[in-house]
Every structure is written in C-alpha cells, then in structure tokens.
Amino acid sequence: MQKAMRAIGVCCVLALTMSNLAATAKAAPATTERYIHVKVDDSTKGESVNVNLPLSMAAAILPTVNKGTLHNGHVTIGEADFNGVDVRALLDAIRTAPDNEFVTVKEKDQDVRVAKSNGNLIVHVLDKSKDGQKVDVTIPMKVVDALFSTVKDNELDVAAAIQALSDAGDAVLVTVQDATEHVRIWIDSHSASE
C-alpha cells in the first residue's frame, strides 16, 4: 500500500514538473534579438574595431536623442543634400519597377552601379585610383521605404528603418574595402561578431 502511494506521489511530481516545463516553453518569447555589427579591420596597422549593438537597444535609444539634426528618431536633411532630386519619387519608381540595373556609370577612374535585385537596393562603387575603394551597399527595399516614410520631405525616419531592419533577415548591409582598411556592417541574430 505504501509503495503504491509512493509511486502515485512520484507520478504526481513528475506530471507537475512536465506541465511546468511545458508552460515555461510556451511562455518563452518567440522573437529572437537581432544585432547590428560594425567591424573595421586595418591589416597594415594590425588594428580592428568591433561594435555589436542589439537592434532593440538602437530602436529604444534613437527616439530619445534630440541633438543636431536628429529629433525623435528622424534626421532632418537640408535641400542641398538631395541636390534638387525628388528622392521619394525616385525611390517610388525603383520600388515599383522590376529587378533591373538602373544606373551604370563607367569612367576612367570610377565605376558606379545602382540596381534592384531580390527586394534589395544595391549600390556598388569602384574607385579605380591607386588607393581606390570598393563600396558595396545592399539595403532591403522595406528599409528604404521606412526611411522615407515620414510626412516631411526633408526628413529620414531612422527609427522606422531600424524597426524594418529588425524584421528583415540576416544581411550584409555595407562593405568598404580600400588598400588598407576593410569595413563591414551587417545584421544577424548572433550577439558576437565572430
């Protein structure tokens, strides 16, 4: 009789433990944190800089900064920065257009290429001079849309862009390579850059 009671007791404890574990698993947050990483390597000097920042932190901090051109997560841009170009109209045209190469400039000392591919805006610049730089920028169109989602024409919504970035998949956003330095900015769900 005592053995039977013990066995029932053990079963009850096990059942309670299992149900607790299941409840904990259900309660666990489904979203994983996303991180923005910046890595700068200077091979000639043997220097490197790594910065890792949770996107949620960037999204929380940005709206609190009110300094210079940055206010409530929006950056104010002067007319001169757009050089009279209607960037919204331009981006709208690119967004609605199928994947294509929009701009290709080939000069003696520089190549520039702007294209849309797989929902990304791609900018590629190659400086052919002696210490020339190679710049690759790949920005998801959703992020570009978010950046220009403000009501005012002379503002960029950086906070919305960060929110859009956190919803996007892993991506290398910017790489810059010159004779000595390599800069890389990317997004993923790993807290460490290596």
Binding site: E33, Y35, K45, G46, E47, S48, V49, N50, V51, N52, L53, P54, S56, M57, A60, I61, T64, V65, N66, K67, S191, A192, S193
Partner: protein, 147 residues
C-alpha cells in the same frame, strides 16, 4: 550570560543586515596591474551603494554643472540602461591594436571594461543598478529638476 548572548546575537544580526543592505546593489570592482619591474597592483572591491552616497560629498557647484550637462541625455541614458539590463550578455565594443586591447562588455548585471596595454591591465566592473542610481542622483542635483 543569556542576556549577553542575546545582545551579541542582536549586534551580529544588525551587522549582517547592514552588510546585506550595503551590498544589495552589488560590488564595484577595480583591478589595476602594472607590468613594469616595480609593478603596482591596485585592487578595490567596494559596495556599489556607496557610489550614489558618495555623490553627496561632491561640491554643489560642480554637481549642478554635471547635472545640467547630464539632464538632456537622461532619457537616452535611461533607455540604454533599461535595454542593457533586459538584454543578454554581449561584447559591445572590442578594439584591438598591437599591444593594446579595449573591451566593453555587459556581463550579468554589470558593465565591464577591460583595458590591456603594454604598461598595465585595467579591469573595472560596475553594476548597472549602481550606474543608474549614481546618474539619477547626479541628474537630480540639477536646479530645475522638480521630480
């Protein structure tokens, strides 16, 4: 004899409670080790709660000046500390140069700064709660703070 024992127990209990209260915000750790032949080693492990208390001893004029400079950034600092506290452990900044390394990490409930160069190594660990209380204490010294 029994009365003496009760008094001793009371004193020991009070001391323990006091130590517990003082250490409730964690400990600040500073470790500096010089690498020269006549090496100095400085190691300080102090209750973090003493830092906000220590702000009371800063001259009023300097504290007001610091508070005025700090005040516009308080929402940003609060947001950053809140996110740091909620987030998992992370290496925020890692700078390497030949013979030098600077590492800023969030480890548990603390912000840890490790600097290693050819002359010395410096390790500073401060609990986030203590950083927050100290900054709030300094910001509260602003003349126009009416919280």
């Amino acid at each position: 004899m029994v009365l003496l024992g009760k008094v001793a127990l009371g004193i020991a209990g009070t001391v323990l409670a006091g130590v517990g209260l003082i250490c409730s915000e964690g400990m600040i750790e500073v470790n500096v080790v010089e690498k020269q032949p006549e090496a100095h080693h400085v190691y300080v492990l102090a209750p973090a709660m003493l830092v906000p208390i220590g702000t009371h001893f800063i001259p009023g004029r300097k504290l007001s000046q610091a508070a005025a400079e700090l005040k516009p950034w308080m929402p940003t600092i609060r947001a950053a500390l809140e996110q740091l506290r909620a987030g998992e452990d992370i290496t925020l900044v890692d700078v390497r140069e030949p013979g030098e390394r600077v590492l800023v990490t969030k480890d548990g409930g603390s912000v840890v700064v490790d600097v290693t160069d050819t002359d010395e190594t410096v390790h500073v660990s401060a609990p986030l709660r203590a950083i927050e209380s100290t900054i709030e204490q300094v910001a509260a010294a602003s003349p126009d703070t009416q919280d």
